[in-house]
Symmetry: C2
Subunit: 199 residues, 2 copies
């Protein structure tokens, strides 16, 4: 038995296959995803939706006796945990190239903690998110007139009272100070992220 397939139908099938593959790439994320989906033409930055499922954890810092990083977020009495999430593929690219790919998106959560004496010792863990920092790697200086872009990154800040509202106004004033000790590693505290190291 033989089926007759017209050129039009063959093209339709090929188109569907390609669309499916492209959708799959989108769903899995990619380094360009940040720039396409999270940044508008003026350089305004959105917080990536569902990053906890769609991104990958690079690592966590535990900060004892933390200072207040953001002017009107009161100094915490408790310790903090910071989790950093990155677009899929970030670690693999970094291990190979020792740098972040253009378009890489990083989300750093600052969380409150609880702790208890468990079987392993005095165990501390993260609870509620207080603040989100978002950074988007920009090799091309895409928004030279936007004060949230510079030094190779777009910079953004979101707080738990309005989690979707970007509130930084100038990355030099609002962000860069805390990153100065990490200037030599492109402003990122890479030493705390085990997946970025050689293994």
């Amino acid at each position: 038995m033989r089926y007759a397939v017209t050129r039009r139908n063959l093209l339709l099938i090929l188109t569907l296959v390609l669309l499916t593959a492209s959708l799959d790439v989108r769903l899995r994320g990619g380094t360009q995803e940040g720039l396409l989906d999270l940044v508008d033409v003026k350089g305004n930055i959105r917080k990536p939706p569902e990053y906890r499922d769609r991104y990958r954890v690079l690592g966590a810092y535990m900060v004892l006796d933390p200072t207040s990083m953001v002017a009107d977020v009161p100094k915490s009495n408790a310790d903090e945990v910071h989790y950093t999430y990155a677009t899929p593929g970030t670690a693999e690219f970094y291990r190979k190239n020792r740098r972040f790919a253009d378009g890489t998106v990083l989300v750093k959560e600052v969380l409150s903690t609880s702790h208890a004496q468990l079987t392993t010792g005095d165990a501390h863990w993260a609870t509620e998110t207080k603040v989100w920092f978002v950074m988007i790697k920009d090799d091309k200086n895409r928004f030279p007139d936007n004060p949230l872009w510079g030094d190779g990154w777009g910079w953004a800040l979101f707080k738990s009272d309005a989690p979707d509202k970007q509130v930084a106004t100038n990355y030099r004033k609002d962000c860069l100070g805390c990153h100065l000790p990490a200037k030599g590693t492109d402003w990122i505290y890479v030493q705390g992220y085990p997946v970025l190291g050689a293994r």
Copy 2:
């Protein structure tokens, strides 16, 4: 113009499409991956290769003044960080069903730490892995005669002096004691894993 496609060729095309889809599922991991790839017919458990890239971080604990969890690993003078990785989809399934899917694989790393006074406070981060704990969810009591399987899980232990050698002999003796406080949540310290919570 018309192409003639035999039934055999059509079947070949369909088979290739299905194989590609199946390969994709394998590469992304899935809840059955652990049982297929990591466990032999007797229930011996391998440490999942490349879990840092292929699995997802559920969360991290910082343990201050840790006790020694494993008999011949000396008590550390320094603090520890524990990272837990899980097969892809674990968190999504858990949020929906409040339980771990059959076949879920968890890898808990116990790491040494460094710390420094950084701009945020006294920051601690993970360095070298000392020990790995691997657990594989087993709803079906697959290996009733293997002393590393029971209470709904397969249990395994690997140490940094021989990272691929499973060294636990009996989960009741080697593993369960430390998990007693988490018995009510299927032996897992779920409170420390933000992605498992409602959001």
